[in-house]
């Protein structure tokens, strides 16, 4: 496998063998060395073999070894001749992040953090198989899958402004709940309004640094301001949808004569009946995830008000934006000087649409969309802005987080004999968690340094730094 340096932030994987296009990897020289030690680069090459892939199989700097597609992968397929792959979206369909600001400053809550984080832990359901306080009948369950965030707001969980500040308005309109299996319906009926486990979290943070004051102003970000970041997805519902369609497509792909280098790349032509069924079922899971994050945000609002004894007006918890980072979408992009409709797979990658794009909601359209990049529990998270360069190069895409560095087993080994919660408390981060191994598996050293990852996408120009947030309280499943 030949890797050629293009510049400080871009590396090309030459097309060879069955690869239809080259690989394009956004990283730094230091992070590339780490990458070579694992399988992720082979996965970039494997994705490049799929029919209808356009331009390049791309990897963002938080790339790491996934299954099938790498995590941090971006690939676009021609809408008429290309394929769609559930493994290119991932199990947790529309896993994503939302950021809200408040009118509180850090000093307003410094002495009340324990009460606040305890209350968030107790009132926002989290952990393995957690069930929510929202119980769904079959009829209401279908409405969630069709309406997404709108369903949650109609039930009193939030405001119209929340919907306006969500990617795609919190709803993919092509969802068809009649394509959902009984198993997925069953899992979905119990888990709406739950955070989940693993790397999902609810984080109270503070705006620590602003890099681009004018854009920060448009996003409503101010120095010292208290923020809330929610990372969650479509829970067991999305997993079941992905699993159901992987089973269907792994059989289907054999009838197509497509030679797959990895079975997890099972796919179907976008225009085939199976491909269309997947996209409609995936949209149901995307809408479920948006409804889920909307409920989680609203619960957080209520908990802040109750725990701090303040009015909704004094709190003024306002959604900045909600982004998804596991999704496949029909988008029109300029490719080699002409417009082309493609199915963009972002698996562990975030949309980064630049100024003027009609898909960016009007309040942000002049500057580009907000991008939310959570880091680890101890260091930082970032707010970026989408750019024209991303539109030209990466189908309007950028990174999604820090990216794992250590396996969970290795992280547990390194954490043995240490108190991760005490170490974090010493850094000013109060943590509450459910799972026995969660803190060890999710400790800061288990991840790449998010500042390095963000440094690459900023340097490459596929998004720009707007603000850095510092965590002060974290709830983990």
């Amino acid at each position: 496998m030949q890797i050629k340096r293009i510049d400080d932030y871009r590396w090309q994987l030459e097309a060879s063998g069955p690869m239809r296009v080259p690989g394009l990897i956004y990283t730094s020289a230091a992070m590339l060395d780490q990458l070579k030690a694992e399988e992720a680069l082979n996965q970039v090459a494997n994705v490049a073999t799929l029919p209808g892939i356009v331009k390049a199989s791309m990897a963002m700097p938080d790339i790491h070894w996934g299954y099938g597609f790498p995590i941090g992968g971006v690939a676009a397929f021609d809408w008429q001749t290309g394929v769609v792959s559930p493994g290119g979206v991932g199990y947790d369909i529309n896993c994503g992040v939302r950021l809200a600001t408040t009118d509180l400053q850090h000093e307003d809550i410094r002495d009340r953090m324990k009460d606040l984080v305890d209350a968030l832990y107790h009132h926002v359901p989290s952990g393995v198989g957690a069930t929510g306080s929202v119980k769904l009948t079959a009829k209401e369950g279908k409405k969630v899958l069709v309406q997404g965030s709108r369903w949650a707001v109609n039930q009193g969980f939030g405001t119209d402004e929340d919907i306006e500040h969500t990617e795609d308005g919190g709803c993919l309109s092509h969802a068809d709940p009649d394509l959902i299996s009984e198993r997925a319906q069953e899992r979905g009926s119990k888990q709406l309004g739950t955070l989940g486990s693993g790397n999902h979290f609810l984080e109270v943070g503070v705006v620590e640094e602003i890099f681009e004051p004018d854009t920060a102003d448009v996003f409503g970000l101010r120095l010292g301001q208290v923020t809330v970041l929610v990372h969650s997805g479509s829970r067991g519902f999305g997993y079941q949808v992905c699993d159901d369609f992987l089973a269907i497509m792994s059989k289907h792909v054999r009838t197509l004569g497509i030679a797959l280098p990895d079975r997890q790349l099972a796919c179907a032509y976008i225009q085939s009946e199976v491909g269309q069924r997947y996209l409609k079922a995936m949209a149901c899971a995307a809408n479920y995830a948006w409804a889920n994050r909307q409920i989680l945000l609203h619960r957080s609002r209520e908990v802040f008000e109750q725990a701090l004894h303040i009015s909704p007006r004094a709190l003024n918890m306002r959604l900045v934006y909600d982004v998804c980072h596991n999704i496949a979408k029909k988008e029109e992009h300029d490719i080699d000087g002409r417009k082309q409709w493609v199915c963009v797979h972002r698996k562990g990658a975030t949309r980064s649409f630049g100024p003027g794009h009609p898909a960016v909601n009007p309040v942000y359209r002049a500057v580009g969309q907000p991008i939310l990049i959570p880091g680890d529990m101890g260091r930082a998270s970032y707010v970026l802005v989408g750019t024209e360069r991303a539109m030209q190069e990466t189908f309007g895409s950028t990174c999604h987080g820090a990216g794992r560095l250590l396996s969970r087993k290795a992280a547990k080994r390194q954490a043995k004999g240490r108190s991760i919660s005490r170490e974090l408390a010493d850094q000013g981060v109060l943590v509450r968690w459910t799972g026995r191994g969660t803190l060890s598996e999710e400790m800061p050293e288990a991840y790449k340094d998010v500042s390095q990852v963000v440094g690459v996408v900023h340097g490459a120009g596929i998004s720009r730094k707007v603000a850095r947030l510092r965590p002060i309280g974290v709830v983990k499943g």
Binding site: E38, A40, H64, W65, G66, Y67, G68, I71, Y91, G127, V128, G129, R183, E186, R187, S197, G198, G236, Y239, Q240, C242, D243, L246, A247, S250, K251, R254, D262, R263, Q264, A266, R404, L405, L406, S407, R408, K409, A410, G435, R436, G437
Partner: protein, 145 residues
């Protein structure tokens, strides 16, 4: 992990996920051991065998041994992720390269009584192997955690 368990499976490193390498004297032993390994990693049961038990029949199909293994483990994992059941015994009744039938004994998952060691969320096809190995059989499966 007990000494016994080390003989029939081992955990291997994967950056984001979890891999299991499972061994068996023949395909029958391999498929039973794969199910046991899945639950030993997911919810290791300690102490007295639970009293609250259910038995249920499971069927799985596959295009080949590897596909059958993934589909078998998927069925077993759904018992936990969908029904909050923990598998405590597996009786494999029939096995061929494209299909199997089994009866499994489960107990209710009680989060206060059992601990989840690694939360396994899905069985992937990524680099899956099921094949003869030395004087027996071996499988390698990567799980989403």
């Amino acid at each position: 992990m007990s000494e016994t368990s080390q003989r029939y499976f081992r955990v291997f490193e994967h950056t984001a996920d979890l891999g299991l390498e499972i061994f068996g004297a023949d395909p029958q032993a391999l498929f039973v051991n794969a199910g046991r390994a899945l639950y030993e990693v997911l919810v290791p049961l300690e102490g007295q065998p639970p009293e609250n038990r259910r038995r249920q029949r499971i069927e799985a199909q596959g295009e080949d041994w590897a596909d059958l293994m993934v589909n078998w483990l998927r069925e077993l994992l759904y018992l936990f992720n969908g029904d909050q059941q923990v598998v405590i015994a597996i009786d494999l009744e029939s096995l061929a390269e494209n299909a199997l039938q089994a009866t499994v004994t489960t107990t209710d998952f009680d989060p206060d009584q059992y601990r989840v060691e690694f939360e396994i969320k899905a069985v992937t096809y990524h680099q899956v192997i099921v094949a003869p190995y030395e004087d027996g059989w071996r499988a390698r499966v990567i799980f989403d955690v």
